[in-house]
């Protein structure tokens, strides 16, 4: 108990406290000025907005992938199952380079999309794509064991009681998966907010357009404006914490309706 607490303090709490202390060097007015600058606000908006959108996409697509992996037996299923983990394992810079090459105007996917007038690389869409890429395993890996645990018999039971396919999904399957889906969403979101390596390659990093908050922090640091950097960092920390906390409460609430077996 003591050991785990000390370790937790050393690893997590002390650095976070340091961050807050550093930001205290600023007067409230300076702090406010940094945050309310257009560039900071836009960077935060890009980071949180796109991360949330990407997490939502991952929630939907991840659920479909999980469904296929758990419920169907098809050739190559194990390989697909393993491929899901690639974004976990791949160095983020490698992912960034690969995605950029793919979506660049002459890339395999970039060229046809450019012909349709859609530009992905070096725009916010690129950030969105990168965030989806790195977030997908979080949804799949949290939901998978829970779905595996749901006996297909309960779907048959619902069907024989007269429920349509749709009613079965809405009333029986989703409520059982609810907590796991929320956890997956929160993890994918948290990962996407914090993502740096893969995003900066594909983003183009135009201030106010496709500049993410972590990148702005790095830029401020390289300009030796440490207080500015910590101010942005504190805001990211607080917002992330609030969101994770909210999802956690939601999850607790959803879970309270399914007592442990």
């Amino acid at each position: 108990m003591g050991l785990t607490l000390s370790w937790l303090t050393l690893i997590i709490l002390i650095p976070l406290a340091g961050l807050f202390l550093k930001s205290l060097e600023l007067s409230p007015e300076q702090f406010w000025n940094i945050l309310s600058s257009r560039r900071t606000l836009n960077a935060l908006r890009v980071s949180f907005g796109l991360a949330f959108a990407a997490a939502c996409v991952n929630l939907v697509m991840g659920s479909i992938i999980v469904w296929a992996l758990v419920r169907y037996r098809f050739p190559g299923r194990r390989i697909f199952d393993a491929i899901v983990d690639v974004p976990f394992a791949l160095p983020t810079a490698v992912a960034g380079v690969a995605l950029t090459a793919l979506f660049a105007e002459k890339g395999w996917l970039g060229a046809p999309l450019a012909a349709l007038g859609i530009k992905v690389a070096f725009t916010p869409v690129g950030i969105f794509v990168a965030m989806i890429f790195i977030g997908i395993p979080f949804v799949v890996r949290t939901v998978q064991p829970v779905l595996q645990d749901i006996d297909p018999e309960i779907e048959e039971a619902a069907g024989s009681l007269g429920a349509s396919r749709w009613q079965t999904i809405i009333r029986v399957i989703l409520p059982s998966l609810g907590p796991a889906l929320l956890t997956g969403l929160a993890l994918a979101f948290a990962r996407a907010v914090g993502e740096y390596g893969s995003v900066i390659f594909i983003a183009g990093n135009l201030p106010n357009v496709s500049e993410i908050a972590p990148l702005l922090i790095v830029i401020r640091l390289s300009e030796f404006r440490y207080a500015d950097a910590t101010a942005i960092a504190v805001v990211m920390l607080v917002v992330s914490f609030v969101i994770i906390f909210a999802v956690n409460r939601l999850q607790r609430w959803a879970q309270s309706r399914i007592p442990v077996r």
Partner: protein, 345 residues
């Protein structure tokens, strides 16, 4: 509702789960499908429920083609071996499920649904558990809730797949009696699957014995026990002594010893002789059709179970009354009170 199944065939890969099954179930019957695992009984039940589809054959309810309908339209109550309760719903909501998912046009109002669920929970004597979750119930309670849930939609047919298979022996016995009286009360045509002969004989009006995707015998519990139609039924139901015999020239021989049994009416050739354990009467040496030496004796309440080495070399177990004490080493004569012979080996 009567059920008729004609020439049903279902294959899983190269395995024939059902191999030409014909069955008629009358309105209000309580029928048991009895057989070892892999005999096709559950597959048959699932096809009747609409949870599986046959490769060929027909299923009709009251003369209407049931295969044209999915599980949803068939109005069949299905009870699963592992209950398949919705674990995120209370007992009350589990039972109410079938009423709540009805199409809006025929869905009852909330008060009617509540009254109906209450009625069903009373029927299964678990009204006091309405607000619990399935995880908080014992196995026997869960199965009764699963049954109440299936009955909520007023099914035309009730199907139960090994309903007591996951329960311990004592609860199983209680629920058997309970199911019988429940059926008497609601009188819905019911089919239940079991591999437990005692369960089938005790609960059902009629028993269908299955093996390897085929029906071996259909009859009352007395019929299948007293007059087994095939060697399989004889060995599967009740405890049997089985001996390989040869019939030739009006004689039955075991090994090289002719038995003092009449061979009338049996086709010559290699056959199997079946005797119930308690139908072997013990007499002095030299009397009866068989002779043997007692190896072990164990007492089970009113009977003694003896392992006897026949002089032909076979070893059998018999159940004898306690009026004549047997001892290891005794030589005895044995006379089958009743026996059956089936051709083949």
């Amino acid at each position: 509702m009567s059920i008729e199944v004609r020439n049903l065939v279902k294959k899983f890969g190269s395995f024939k789960a059902l191999d030409g099954v014909d069955l008629k179930v009358d309105n209000g019957e309580l029928l048991a499908l009895l057989g070892p695992s892999g005999s096709g009984k559950t597959t048959l039940l699932r096809i009747v429920a609409g949870l599986d589809w046959p490769d060929s054959g027909e299923v009709s309810f009251n003369g209407e083609d049931a295969l044209a309908q999915g599980a949803r339209e068939r109005h069949v109550g299905f009870v699963f071996q592992h209950y398949a309760l919705f674990r995120h719903m209370t007992v009350f909501e589990n039972v109410a499920f079938g009423l709540r998912v009805q199409p809006r046009a025929i869905r009852k109002d909330e008060a009617t649904i509540r009254a109906r669920v209450k009625e069903l929970l009373d029927l299964v004597q678990l009204d006091w558990l309405a607000d619990r979750y399935p995880s908080q119930l014992s196995g026997g309670q869960r199965q009764r809730i699963a049954l109440a849930r299936a009955l909520a939609i007023e099914p035309r047919i009730l199907l139960l797949d090994e309903p007591f298979g996951a329960l311990d022996a004592k609860v199983r016995k209680e629920l058997r009696k309970w199911l019988r009286s429940l059926h008497h009360e609601i009188n819905v045509t019911s089919i239940f699957v079991t591999h437990d002969q005692e369960e089938a004989l005790e609960v059902a009006n009629r028993v269908v014995v299955m093996d390897k995707g085929k029906i071996e015998q259909i009859g009352s519990p007395d019929d299948v026990y007293e007059s087994p139609a095939t060697a399989f039924v004889h060995s599967f139901i009740g405890e049997s002594i089985e001996l390989p015999v040869l019939i030739a020239d009006g004689l039955i021989t075991l090994g090289d010893r002719p038995l003092r049994l009449a061979a009338d009416g049996h086709a010559p050739g290699a056959s199997r002789l079946f005797v119930r354990r308690h139908d072997m009467l013990v007499g002095p040496p030299g009397s009866g059709a068989f002779e043997g030496a007692v190896r072990h004796v164990r007492n089970f309440g009113p009977v003694q179970r003896a392992e006897v080495a026949l002089s032909g070399g076979e070893t059998i177990e018999i159940d004898a009354p306690r009026d004549r004490e047997l001892r290891a080493g005794d030589t005895i004569g044995l006379e089958p009170r009743r026996y059956r012979i089936f051709a083949g080996t």
